[in-house]
């Protein structure tokens, strides 16, 4: 007995020792694993914060501005102290015949080719002094140009026109916000050395002017209005078509089709497959079907509008509607499925028909969920770029989109254009546009969360 016990104790001691070692090692590995999994989240968080910080960093900062014409060489007083009348005279005096181009770009409502031979009464979208109404722009004397401008521009607008057309300030170089704050001294020294005649000033690329001015060929005056209007019209078309079809499809799949119906099952699988198709392919479908095959309808030619081809707001809106349909249907299906069947049965028990049950009981109960899904889908549509590039967004349009048959550009496409511009300064403009786009999306998603938490009922 005694001889046998000794090695057993030894074995136990050894194994206990190694057991403890192994336990410690296992726990260590456990901690390393935990740290790894945690850091994955931290990296994701850092990526998000860096992205947002980077965009803010680009959206404002010091810039060097060079004026094509120095204000002091054309006026003795500072421009801001001149009256509107003086500004007008200055404009006509400096621009000469080009004043007519300013009038055309600002107020024309006819195609550029017809502008010079259309009486001003029809050519301009604004009021024209009575004596010039029947003349074409080329027959109006210079004092008439000034009169037209004076009748339609506020003094502030007048100053903008003078700045834009004569002074033409251009940004030569720009710095990021962080550099502008922490290395201001060296930037000032550098600017004074390299650009002695130009002004160094702080500029926020986001401003009210940025939102309200149209696309421009200069970074300082470029604005987002055209693109915002384009986005608005497209989303309007997308929303109206996708809502009707999407909610109807969801009702059919959840309420009307039985689980064993092979067609319904095929539709269900198909919808999930559609959700995985790259958006750029939807653009190709839109190009071939809406722009090309249905060109008469989407260009408005069928309704008597002839100056566009099929690359219109209508085609873009319908393409995006197809794109968000799968997302919308799946979301609406979930919302409808969440309505307890006791509500349906109670309704049937009272003698309601199927449609009465669906329209008066199920849909109102599922509404918050459906609304949330709609908002999320539309917010995705607002950020889409690739399919609209393929459908044929215009890169530069002078006239604001004003209906389903206009040419269009949208905010993400403007961001793309500005980002891809060889002039680095446009990256600041793109950053400003990104902030606005993200703001719109935050507002929409916030609304979705609010609706979900406020209106949803628990059963």
């Amino acid at each position: 007995m005694h001889e046998q016990a000794a090695p057993r104790i030894l074995a136990e001691q050894i194994s206990e020792q190694s057991y403890l070692d192994r336990l410690r090692a296992r726990n260590r590995r456990g901690k390393v694993g935990r740290t790894f999994f945690f850091s994955a989240n931290i990296i994701a968080l850092l990526a998000l914060l860096t992205l947002i910080a980077h965009i803010f960093n680009q959206s404002m900062g010091l810039v060097v501005i060079r004026n094509t014409v120095e204000p002091s060489t054309i006026s003795e007083q500072p421009l801001t102290e001149l009256s509107e009348h003086e500004l007008e005279n200055l404009l006509v005096e400096q621009l000469g015949g080009r004043t007519r181009v300013v009038i055309r770009d600002r107020f024309s409502q006819v195609p550029a080719a017809e502008f010079t031979n259309t009486p001003l009464r029809d050519a301009l979208s604004v009021s024209v002094p009575a004596e010039y109404q029947d003349l074409t722009i080329n027959d109006v004397p210079p004092e008439g140009w000034a009169a037209i401008l004076e009748a339609n521009l506020s003094p502030d607008n007048m100053l903008d026109v003078v700045n834009e057309q004569i002074i033409q300030p251009t940004v030569i170089t720009s710095w990021t916000l962080l550099d502008s704050i922490f290395q201001r001294g060296s930037i000032e020294a550098q600017a004074a050395e390299k650009y002695p005649d130009d002004t160094l000033q702080f500029r926020s690329w986001i401003s009210w002017d940025f939102i309200t001015s149209s696309i421009s060929s200069s970074a300082t005056t470029a604005g987002l209005r055209t693109a915002l209007l384009g986005s608005f019209w497209i989303i309007l078309i997308t929303a109206t078509t996708a809502l009707i079809v999407g909610i109807s499809a969801a009702i059919y799949l959840e309420e009307y089709a039985s689980d064993k119906n092979p067609i319904a099952r095929l539709i269900g699988i198909n919808i999930r497959n559609l959700a995985a198709i790259p958006s750029v392919i939807y653009g190709m479908l839109g190009l071939a079907v809406f722009v090309r095959a249905l060109g008469d309808f989407t260009s408005g030619a069928a309704f008597g509008i002839t100056d566009t081809n099929g690359r219109t707001v209508m085609s873009a809106g319908l393409t995006l509607a197809l794109l968000i349909l799968p997302l919308l249907i799946v979301n609406a299906q979930e919302a409808i499925r969440a309505v307890p069947s006791s509500i349906r049965e109670a309704s049937y028990g009272l003698g309601a028909t199927k449609w009465q049950t669906v329209s008066r009981q199920v849909l109102p109960a599922a509404l918050p969920g459906i609304l949330t899904g709609i908002i999320l889908s539309l917010s995705r549509a607002i950020g889409e770029t690739a399919p609209l590039l393929v459908v044929g967004a215009s890169t530069f349009i002078g006239i604001d989109p004003n209906g389903p048959f206009s040419k269009f550009t949208v905010v993400p496409i403007q961001i793309f254009q500005w980002t891809a511009d060889p002039k680095i300064v446009y990256r600041n403009v793109a950053a400003a546009a990104i902030i606005l786009l993200l703001l719109v999306m935050i507002v929409m998603n916030g609304a979705a969360i609010l609706i979900r938490s406020r209106l949803s009922r628990r059963y």
Partner: protein
Amino acid sequence: MAQEMSLGGLQRLPLAERIAAEQGRSEVGLNKRPRFAERAISAFLFLCGALSILTTVGFTLVLGSEAMRFFATTEWLNANKPVTTAISTSDTQLILKSSGTALNVGDTVRLGLEENGEHVRVLEVVDAQTIIVERGVDGTTATNHPAGTLLYYAAPVTLTKFLTDTKWAPQIGRFGIMELVVPTIVITLIAMAVSIPLGLGAAIYIGEYASTRVRNILKPVLEILAGIPTVVYGYFALTFVTPLLQAIFGQQVKVYNMASAGIVVGILITPTISSIAEDALSAVPRALREASYGLGATKLETVTKVLLPAALSGIMAAIILGFSRAVGETMIVLIASGAGPNLSVNPFDSAETMAGHIARISTGDLSFGSIDYNSVFAVGLTLFVMTLLLNFASTLITRRFREVYQ
């Protein structure tokens, strides 16, 4: 009792009788009446559902027919080999400039720029300058041609050429899709290298380790990442990640490169992978975790040896779905990885993916029926088939390998 029950079913309600009397009917019709409005509504709802099938059919038809047109085109390319002496209708010997594309016996060559100009077939190649031809083949007629008439040779698009050629330049008759496929795969692999560890790590931490409070902070971060428009990611890749890579790896990193696009695509698909993987993990029954802890396993051992194998099908599906999103991602690669096909596997080189190529070529006024238009649809069909196969694989894996728990 039983009698009462059966009577209850037949008993006519006084109200129903009154309605029947008012409508001039002698008894209440308990039979199902046809309701046309209900039928119409039901039919409309079905049509809306069927629209999705129509969309799929549309995809197949549109991409298929346009791509067929592409494969049916014969491009006529300048051989840079003009005839040096004038040719009359009866000449069968052509004297050509010796440089340019070499011709072989049996080639069909077009004389002149016109679409329906005279075709001749090469019967014999005497030397680099002289060929004997059969005049007026393919139903064309032999005509006179002045000296300096250009020679065009036919470059039909074939599937073999499409899959094996290494250059994509439709304008000069090179249709090698590989030059677009290879960069697509390089960028996708970089994206997967970023997103698999990030996505799975995030899913495991959120699902298994995090307290409710931490989870409520971390999950929205991933949701926000998923909601940012891709054009914003593209901006980030070009103006932040590329300069960062240049600062680390030096001048070998081009301004447009696959690495920065790949990394940012990886960040973009991380939420996709993490949310599906998290669902898969949470579907593993609690009993399995408890059993593992009961045997003395640490949390990490439980995760790697019990949960991951149990949720494998869902995790594979998540990864394949992420892969398919990366393959089809457009704006990031269009902005950050360059404009122009390039057969390169060096991540610091610029190159163009299939989706990026489609978007770049389609921007602006692409004229219908041009070689660019048709070739873009061939690329689109390839991309469509690839993503469909990946999606199909993901569904299959989920079905085949799903562990079913009660």
